[in-house]
C-alpha cells in the first residue's frame, strides 16, 4: 500500500505541490497527467525518495519514509522501487541481460544467480533471445522493454515510470505501454505512470490529473 498524505513542496518560496494525498493498493496501476511545470516530476521525485517534502507523509507498506536519511532512502529504492525513464538509461558497457540483472546485483545477488531471473524477465518482455546483445544493437522500443524488465526483475512493491514513451514512435509507444501495464499487474506491484499524454494514460487502471489546485481523480 502506498499512502501519500498532505504532501507539499516548494522551491525558493514558490509552492509547487500543496496538500497532495493519494492511496494506492497493490496491483493498482494509475497514470498521473498534467501540463508541463505543474509538478509531475517533483511529485515523482518525492515518491521515489529522490527529494524530500516540506510537509506531509509518504508510506509504503506502512513504512514512513518521508523523513528517512539518505542511506535509508537508497535502501528503499534498491529493495522496493523500480524505475522506467524516458531516456532508457541502459548502460552501454553491459549486455542486455546484465543491464536487467543490475538491480539484483545491487541487492547482493551473485552474478550467476541473477542471470536466470533477468533472462526470464527478458523472455516476458519478448526479448528472450537478446540477452547477450549489446545495447547499441537494440532499437529504441527494445531498449525501453529492457528498461521495463529491469524495473521489475527484483519484484519491487512500487514501479515508477516517467514519460516512458517520450523517445518512441507511436507504434512502439503503444506496445511498450501495454507491456508495462501487463507486467506491473502481473507482478502485483503498485504502478505510477507519469505522462502528459492522455493516450498513454488510458493504458492505466485510472487517471489522476495534477493541476495547480492539487491531484484530482
Amino acid at each position: 500500500m502506498l499512502e501519500i498524505e498532505n504532501l507539499s513542496r516548494s522551491f525558493n518560496g514558490r509552492s509547487v505541490l500543496r496538500d497532495i494525498s493519494l492511496r494506492l493498493a497493490p496491483g493498482e496501476y494509475v497514470a498521473i497527467v498534467g501540463e508541463s511545470g505543474v509538478g509531475k516530476s517533483t511529485l515523482l521525485n518525492l515518491i521515489a525518495g529522490l527529494d524530500r517534502p516540506d510537509g506531509g507523509r509518504l508510506r509504503l507498506d506502512g513504512e514512513d519514509y518521508a523523513l528517512h536519511d539518505e542511506d535509508a532512502l537508497t535502501r528503499l529504492r534498491r529493495d522496493k522501487l523500480g524505475f522506467v525513464f524516458q531516456a532508457f538509461h541502459i548502460l552501454p558497457h553491459l549486455n542486455v541481460a546484465q543491464n536487467v540483472a543490475l538491480p539484483l546485483w545491487l541487492q547482493g545477488v551473485e552474478r550467476d544467480a541473477a542471470d536466470g531471473p533477468a533472462r526470464q524477465l527478458l523472455d516476458a518482455v519478448g526479448l528472450g533471445t537478446r540477452g547477450d546483445s549489446w545495447p547499441r544493437e537494440l532499437s529504441g522500443g527494445e531498449m525501453q522493454r529492457v528498461a521495463i524488465a529491469r524495473a521489475l526483475v527484483h519484484a519491487p512493491r512500487l514501479v515508477l515510470a516517467d514519460e516512458p514513451t517520450g523517445n518512441l514512435d507511436p507504434a512502439n509507444a503503444a506496445r511498450v505501454l501495454a507491456l508495462l501495464a501487463e507486467r506491473v499487474r502481473a507482478a502485483g506491484a503498485i504502478g505510477i505512470l507519469v505522462t502528459h499524454s492522455l493516450e498513454a494514460a488510458a493504458t492505466a487502471d485510472r487517471t489522476l490529473y495534477l493541476t495547480a489546485e492539487g491531484l484530482r481523480g
Binding site: N45, T74, R77, F83, H93
Partner: protein, 836 residues
C-alpha cells in the same frame, strides 16, 4: 567483511566495463602512469645497483677491519703505522698505499694498492694475491702486480704480461704476476708489495690508509675516539662504512633530484587520470544518477570511481615497474651506474630486482591513479540524481572559479618554504616550494582562464566567439584539459631555465678559469702522476713559453664524516685575480685562503674568518679571503697561493701547468716541444678550447637524462589535451549537431575546436611558463645550492621557451581538431534528433 568485498565484486562490470569502453582515455592515463613509475623505478634501480656495487667493493677493500685511518691524498707519514700497531686495543694493523696509476698512452688509470702481505690475510683476506707460478713469495718481487679479474679483462693482459704505468712523469713497467681470486666484485684493481709500490711511485715513507682490526671486546667507537686523539692533523680514523655513506651522500642529491623529476612525470600522469575521470564523470552523469536512483549508495559510487583510478594506477604501476627495470638495464649499459654524472666511475653495477622498492613504486602508481580520480569521484557522488536525470544535463561542466585564495596562499607558502635550510643535505624546503608553486598554479588555473577569456577580443568569427564564450562560461574545464599541460610545461620550463643558467654559468666559469694558451699535466689530479722540479724547470725554459702558472692538487680531510676536500695551490694575487669569485674579496694579512661555495656551505666558513688547514700533518692558520665558484668539486675545494703552500709543506711537486705563450710563439710547435720533454704519452697537453668543448659535452651528457624526463612529461601533457578533447568532443556530439543545424560548416566547427584546444593549452602553457619560471628560480637558488652547493647566474632561454610554448599550443589545437573529427561526422547532425 568478505560479504562486502563480494558485493563490490558484483558491480565490477558496471564500472570496469566503462574503463574498457573509454579505451583511448584509459590508455593515455595508463601510459602516463607507466612512464612516471618507470622513470622513477629506473633511477632507483640504477642507483641502488651502483651503490650496492660500490658498497660491496668497499667491504671487500675493508675486509675484517673495524676502523680505517685515512689522510690527505698525498698520504701521511708511515711512522704512524708502527705507533698504531703497538697500541693495546689494536689486534692487527694493515698499512696500505693507494696509487691511481695512469696507464702510459691510455686515457685511463689503474688503482694500485701497496699492501703488507704478512698482515693481509688477517685483516683484508679478500685482497690476498695468488701467483700463477705457485710461488708464495712472488708478491715480494719488486715489479710484480696482481690484478683483479675485471682489471685483467679491461686491460687485456694475462700473467706474465708487462704493464706500462706512469709514476710522476716517468714510465714504470710492472709485470702481471697473478690474480686476486677472493675479490668478489667487478672492481678494477691491482695489488703489489707496499715497499715496492712506495719505491716505484715515489712515495717512500708515505701511507694512504691503515686498516685496523681491534682486539676482541674493544668498543669500536671508544677506540675511534681515543685513536683520533693521537693522530696528526688531517689524518682521521673512520669506520669502513663511513666512506660508503660519503659516496651515497655525494650521489644522493642527484639521485633524489632525478627521482623528483620522475615524480613530476608521475604527477602529470595523475593529472591525466584526473582529466580522464573528470570528463568521464561529465559524460556518465546521467548514468550515475540512474544508478543512484535504483539504489546504489553514494559511498559505493564514490568508492568504485576511485577504484577505477586505482585499477588504472595499479596496472600502470605494475607495468611501470617492469618497464623501469628495462630502462634501468639500458641506462646501465649506456650511461653507467651514475646515469652519466660521474659519481661511480670504474664500477660495473649489476641490476637486481628489489621487491620492496618495486612494490613501493607500483603503489605510487596506485596513489597517482587514486589521487587523480578522487576529485571527479567526489563530484559524481554529490550529484543529485533527480537533477542529473533531466534531459540536457549530460554535458554539464565545471563552471567554478577554482580556489584562487588557496592558490595564492600556496604561492606565498612557496616563498616561505624557500627559507627552510637543508635537512640532512637534502633541499626539502625547495621541494616543498616546487610542490606549492605547482599546486597553487593549478588552483589558480580557472581564474587565469577566466581572466584570459575577459581579455580576448569580443568580436571576430563566430567559431572564435563560441570558443571564447565556452572558456568564459566553463573555466573549470580549462583545469581538466590544461592541468597536465601546466605541470609538464612548468617542469620543462623550469628545467630549461635551470640548465640554461647552469650551462651559461659553467661556460663563463671555464672562460675565467682557463685564461692560458696551453694546459699541460702529467695525468689526472687524482692520479699518482706529477711534474717534478726538474721537469718544471724544463717547461719554463722551453722555447715559445712566455710564462707558466703551476698548480699542485691534493685532497684534505677536514672533518670526520665528510668526503675529502680538494686543495689547489697555484699562484694567487691578493685580489684573487683569475678566480670566478662570488662577492668581493677581502684584503687579509698573512696567508690567505680562497674557499669554494661547497666549503662555505658544508663547513660554515666565511670570508674574514681564520681557519685551520691540516698541511703536512700540522695545523696551519689561514684567513678566508673570498669565496669562488667551483662546478668541478661537489665536496668542496680550497685554494692557496703556491709559494705559501711550498713554504708551509716543503712539497715542490706540481700536477699541472697553465702556459702563456711568448709573443709571436707558435702554439703547435710549442706544444710539440713541451710533450717531448717526457717519454711518449706521459704528458697530456690541451688547448683551452678543447677543455671547454669536452667539459660542456660532459655537462650535456649529465643532463641527457633530465632532457628525457622533460620530453616524457611534455608528451604526457600533450596526450592529456588530446584525451580531454576526445572525451569532450564525444560528449558534445549533440551540440555539434545543433550547430550544424544552425548552419555552421564542419570547417567552422573544426576551427572552433582548434580555438578551444589552443585556448585551453594556451592557458596551461601561460600558467606553466609562469610556474616554470618560479620553479626554475627555486631550482637555481634553493635546490641546486643546497644539493650541490653551487650558485649560478640566471639565464632565461626566451626564444626556446616561446618557441616551445607556441609549438605546444599549435599541437594542442591540432590534437583538439583530430579528437573532434569523429564527432563532426555526418551522424553528428542526426545526433540532435535523438532528443526529438
Amino acid at each position: 567483511m568478505s560479504g562486502q568485498v563480494m558485493g563490490w565484486r558484483r558491480l565490477a562490470p558496471v564500472f570496469l566495463g566503462s574503463l574498457a569502453r573509454r579505451r583511448l582515455a584509459t590508455l593515455f592515463s595508463l601510459v602516463a602512469i607507466v612512464l612516471g613509475v618507470a622513470l622513477g623505478m629506473a633511477v632507483q634501480a640504477v642507483h641502488e645497483a651502483a651503490l650496492s656495487e660500490f658498497d660491496r667493493g668497499l667491504r671487500n677493500m675493508a675486509g675484517a677491519a673495524d676502523l680505517q685511518v685515512v689522510g690527505p691524498r698525498g698520504g701521511f707519514d708511515e711512522q704512524l703505522y708502527a705507533r698504531l700497531a703497538a697500541r693495546p686495543d689494536v689486534a692487527e694493523a694493515s698499512p696500505v698505499l693507494e696509487v691511481e696509476a695512469r696507464l702510459v698512452g691510455r686515457d685511463e688509470s689503474l688503482q694500485v694498492l701497496g699492501v703488507d702481505a704478512f698482515v693481509l690475510a688477517r685483516v683484508t683476506p679478500q685482497l690476498l694475491p695468488r701467483a700463477d707460478s705457485g710461488d708464495r713469495f712472488a708478491i715480494f718481487a719488486g715489479d710484480g702486480v696482481f690484478l683483479s679479474r675485471a682489471a685483467a679483462e679491461r686491460l687485456g693482459v694475462k700473467t706474465g704480461d708487462l704493464l706500462r704505468v706512469q709514476a710522476g712523469s716517468a714510465e714504470v713497467v710492472l709485470k702481471v704476476a697473478g690474480d686476486l681470486p677472493a675479490l668478489g666484485d667487478d672492481r678494477r684493481l691491482g695489488v703489489m708489495d707496499i715497499a715496492a709500490a712506495q719505491t716505484l711511485f715515489g712515495k717512500l715513507g708515505r701511507l694512504s690508509r691503515i686498516d685496523l682490526r681491534l682486539r676482541d671486546g674493544v668498543d669500536a667507537e671508544a677506540a675511534r675516539r681515543s685513536l683520533q686523539a693521537v693522530l696528526p692533523d688531517g689524518v682521521l680514523v673512520e669506520t669502513p662504512a663511513a666512506e660508503a655513506d660519503q659516496a651515497a651522500n655525494l650521489s644522493r642529491a642527484y639521485r633524489v633530484n632525478l627521482t623528483l623529476l620522475a615524480a613530476i612525470a608521475l604527477l602529470t600522469g595523475g593529472f591525466l587520470v584526473f582529466s580522464a575521470q573528470a570528463l568521464s564523470v561529465v559524460r556518465r552523469r546521467s548514468e550515475f544518477a540512474f544508478l543512484r536512483a535504483i539504489g546504489l549508495p553514494r559511498r559505493t559510487l564514490f568508492g568504485w570511481l576511485v577504484g577505477e583510478g586505482a585499477v588504472v594506477g595499479l596496472l600502470g604501476g605494475i607495468l611501470g615497474v617492469a618497464v623501469g627495470h628495462g630502462l634501468a638495464w639500458g641506462a646501465l649499459a649506456l650511461l653507467g651506474g651514475d646515469l652519466g654524472a660521474g659519481y661511480f666511475s670504474g664500477l660495473a653495477p649489476r641490476l637486481q630486482f628489489q621487491p620492496l622498492a618495486s612494490a613501493i613504486y607500483a603503489l605510487l602508481g596506485v596513489v597517482a591513479g587514486v589521487a587523480g580520480a578522487w576529485s571527479p569521484a567526489k563530484e559524481a557522488a554529490t550529484v543529485a540524481p533527480a537533477q542529473a536525470l533531466k534531459a540536457g544535463d549530460e554535458a554539464a561542466l565545471h563552471g567554478g572559479r577554482g580556489h584562487p585564495l588557496f592558490g595564492l596562499a600556496l604561492l606565498a607558502g612557496s616563498l616561505a618554504a624557500c627559507a627552510i635550510p637543508p635537512v640532512d643535505g637534502l633541499p626539502f624546503g625547495g621541494y616543498l616550494a616546487v610542490a606549492c608553486v605547482l599546486a597553487g598554479a593549478v588552483l589558480l588555473l580557472p581564474s587565469i582562464a577566466a581572466l584570459l577569456a575577459r581579455l580576448m577580443p569580443v568580436g571576430g568569427p563566430v567559431a572564435v566567439r563560441l570558443a571564447v564564450a565556452r572558456l568564459a562560461a566553463a573555466p573549470g574545464h580549462a583545469v581538466v584539459a590544461a592541468a597536465g599541460v601546466l605541470t609538464s610545461v612548468a617542469l620543462a620550463a623550469a628545467m630549461a631555465i635551470m640548465v640554461a643558467s647552469f650551462r651559461d654559468s659553467v661556460d663563463q666559469w671555464l672562460t675565467q678559469l682557463l685564461p692560458a694558451d696551453l694546459y699541460l699535466r702529467a695525468g689526472r689530479a687524482q692520479s699518482g702522476s706529477y711534474l717534478d722540479e726538474a721537469l718544471q724547470a724544463r717547461i719554463v725554459a722551453t722555447a715559445g713559453v712566455g710564462s707558466v702558472a703551476f698548480t699542485r692538487h691534493d685532497g684534505l680531510r677536514l672533518a670526520a664524516g665528510h668526503a675529502p676536500v680538494a686543495l689547489l695551490a697555484r699562484p694567487m694575487s691578493a685580489a684573487g685575480g683569475g678566480l670566478p669569485l662570488v662577492g668581493q674579496p677581502l684584503a687579509v694579512n698573512g696567508p690567505s685562503l680562497w674557499i669554494s661555495e661547497a666549503v662555505q656551505d658544508l663547513y660554515g666558513w666565511r670570508p674574514g674568518q681564520q681557519v685551520e688547514l691540516p698541511l703536512a700533518g700540522k695545523p696551519v692558520r689561514l684567513t678566508v679571503a673570498g669565496v669562488w665558484r667551483d662546478y668541478a668539486r661537489q665536496t668542496g675545494a680550497v685554494m692557496i697561493d703556491l709559494d705559501s703552500y711550498r713554504r708551509l709543506t716543503g712539497d715542490r711537486l706540481v700536477n699541472d701547468a697553465a702556459i702563456h705563450l711568448a709573443p709571436g710563439a707558435d702554439a703547435l710547435r710549442t706544444a710539440n716541444a713541451l710533450t717531448a720533454l717526457a717519454g711518449p704519452g706521459v704528458l697530456e697537453l690541451a688547448f683551452p678550447g678543447e677543455i671547454r668543448t669536452i667539459t660542456l659535452r660532459i655537462f650535456d651528457r649529465t643532463f641527457a637524462v633530465t632532457y628525457l624526463l622533460e620530453a616524457v612529461a611534455v608528451a604526457i601533457g600533450l596526450a592529456g589535451v588530446a584525451a580531454s578533447f576526445a572525451a569532450l568532443a564525444a560528449a558534445r556530439r549533440k551540440e555539434f549537431g545543433m550547430l550544424r543545424h544552425l548552419g555552421l560548416t564542419r570547417r567552422q566547427i573544426g576551427w572552433m575546436l582548434a580555438q578551444e584546444g589552443a585556448l585551453a593549452a594556451g592557458v596551461g602553457v601561460l600558467a606553466g611558463l609562469l610556474a616554470g619560471g618560479a620553479i626554475g628560480l627555486v631550482l637555481i637558488e634553493v635546490v641546486n645550492r643546497q644539493s650541490f652547493h653551487w650558485s649560478m647566474d640566471l639565464h632565461v632561454p626566451w626564444l626556446s621557451l616561446l618557441t616551445f610554448g607556441g609549438g605546444l599550443v599549435a599541437l594542442a589545437a591540432l590534437a583538439a581538431v583530430l579528437a573532434g573529427r569523429q564527432a563532426m561526422r555526418q551522424d553528428a547532425v542526426l545526433a540532435v534528433r535523438e532528443d526529438w
